[in-house]
């Protein structure tokens, strides 16, 4: 039997679907770390990204800081935080979430500010000329139009966090990384592969869900541009208009 067949057989074994080391428990833990991380990171990075995108301030600084964050080695930072701040094993969740948040911030920030920047400045100018306040411009014009790109940032952040949340097991926590970390020392490569496969599957499922959400957030008027060429020179008559609306 090859390694993959063994791994799938392991996953298919009903005895691996219950208990504290069962697949449902590990999956739930993994999702919990991912969810908590992404929520915290969104609060920080999307807020900051919207601010940068709207005002254009600190753009250069944020790009620099983001690249620096990307360069941080996750495992090294995790070990450092766990030891240097005395979180140790008991409070292992704190350093774990911190390193995952650090990982999630760059794509979220980039998605948010590039989303806002992608909005046609003439549209924003028109909104301001009409008498929208800066908040109204942000909420009623910029965010709706930037949403697909913002969700795009969430997508890549989720993908990276799901893949990397395996490190939680490195400092005694649960999650799907448990299978990998536990099995490595005893050379149980089937179980290592099980861990890797489950993480991959989870990532693919989440990716699929987020792609659907991303599609749904494209505003109808913008979708109309993509699906049909603008109807040039349609005279304002009822007949033509209804024919044209059937076409869209």
């Amino acid at each position: 039997m090859n390694a993959f067949a063994e791994a799938f057989a392991w996953i298919g074994d009903p005895s691996h679907w219950s208990g504290p080391d069962g697949i449902p428990t590990r999956l739930a833990e993994h999702l919990a770390y991912t969810g908590l991380t992404v929520v915290i990171a969104i609060l920080i990075a999307v807020t900051l990204g919207l601010y940068i995108g709207h005002t254009g301030r600190f753009r250069g600084a944020s790009i620099g800081a983001t690249s620096a964050l990307r360069a941080l080695p996750t495992l090294g930072l995790l070990t450092y935080l766990a030891i240097a701040f005395g979180f140790g094993i008991r409070l292992a969740l704190i350093p774990t979430i911190i390193v995952l948040v650090v990982l999630a911030i760059p794509p979220l920030l980039a998605g948010a500010y590039s989303g806002i920047e992608s909005v046609d400045p003439r549209t924003v100018d028109a909104a301001r000329s009409m008498g929208m306040t800066e908040w109204q411009i942000l909420w009623k014009v910029e965010i709706p139009l930037a949403l697909p790109l913002i969700i795009g940032g969430v997508r890549s952040a989720v993908l990276q966090v799901v893949a990397t949340a395996t490190v939680a097991a490195y400092i005694s926590l649960g999650g799907l990384g448990r299978y990998i970390i536990d099995a490595l020392p005893v050379r149980d490569y089937t179980k290592v592969l099980v861990g890797a496969l489950l993480v991959t599957l989870l990532a693919l499922v989440l990716e699929g869900i987020l792609i659907s959400i991303q599609r749904l957030t494209v505003p109808a008027g913008v979708r109309a541009i993509r699906t049909s060429p603008p109807l040039r020179r349609v005279r304002a008559t009822g007949q033509n208009a209804s024919a044209a609306s059937r076409a869209t």
């Binding site: 549209t123 100018d125 009409m130 929208m132 109204q136 139009l145 913008v222 603008p230 609306s245």
Partner: protein, 274 residues
């Protein structure tokens, strides 16, 4: 009435867009600011709704110094139509027109009803109400832009080259439409263009600008044509050439009018001096 008093604007990059500009724009008439690019005409327009604040000088609307007015409130009381319609791409035609009324707390149903009425005013079929801007032609988008500018029934309507991006046929259609609307509504319109023909067609008062917002000449189209202030104005309005430089020739006892390119422009009717 809008009054510019010794207004200057220097942008942060150092360019002096407007220098010591003074002008009175009478109410309920159309004033056209015309000039080439760099004449500061758009800057002057945008000062009226405080999209640009002057570096020095003051602007008054009916004796209120606008620098004392809150920008958002001021802008909501002034209609604004821009070149590329500036419509919100994610909102339908009716919602675009109703944007400002909705911001000001008008009920949805009422705002929609008013938007539909405005579509009639600007010559748009009501069946387009639920279309998105991207589904309209350029001319239709501009009509929506005009309707949106009129949505709060403002006293002042600012128009920044609103017909600059549509083809000549549609442009002349829109110009006629604007003349008709203005005849009915009599707004204080401030209109910016670089097209002298458009300025003469639409303007009750035409302001010819040189670089830096220097006024070359102010007057009615007839006054400017009859008596260009200097060579700059003369050249700008094309009085020395083309179809504006008309002369009379006598052909078999009748007086015919020939234009600057030598083409026959028409026949001089009675009442003409001999």
């Amino acid at each position: 009435m809008i009054r510019f008093d010794a207004v200057s604007k220097r942008f942060p990059d150092g360019t002096l867009a407007v220098e010591n500009f003074s002008l009175t724009i009478p109410s309920r008439t159309t004033t056209v600011l015309v000039g080439s690019s760099g004449s500061g005409k758009t800057t002057l327009l945008r000062m009226i709704n405080r999209m640009v604040d002057p570096t020095s000088g003051s602007i008054r609307i009916d004796d209120d110094d606008i620098s004392t007015l809150e920008p958002v409130k001021l802008r909501r009381s002034i209609g604004y139509v821009m070149q590329n319609s500036g419509l919100l791409p994610h909102r339908t035609v009716a919602d675009n027109i109703a944007t400002v009324p909705l911001l000001s707390g008008v009920k949805r149903a009422q705002a929609r009803a008013e938007a539909l009425t405005l579509m009639d005013t600007v010559g748009l079929d009501r069946s387009l109400a639920d279309r998105y801007p991207s589904q309209l032609s350029g001319g239709q988008q501009q009509r929506v832009g005009v309707a949106r500018g009129l949505a709060i029934d403002p006293n002042i309507l600012l128009m920044d080259e609103p017909f600059g991006a549509v083809d000549p046929l549609v442009r002349s259609e829109l110009q006629q439409e604007l003349l008709r609307i203005q005849k009915d509504l009599a707004k204080t319109i401030v209109f910016v263009t670089h097209d002298i023909d458009e300025a003469f067609l639409l303007g009750d008062q035409v302001v010819l600008l040189r670089t830096g917002g220097q006024i070359a000449q102010v007057g009615t189209p007839a006054e400017i044509l009859a008596n260009p202030a200097d060579d700059f104005v003369d050249t700008f309005i094309g009085a020395d050439r083309g179809r504006r430089a008309l002369r009379i020739e006598e052909v078999s006892g009748r007086q015919v009018v020939i234009d600057g390119t030598g083409r026959l422009a028409g026949i001089l009717k009675d009442g003409a001096p001999t």
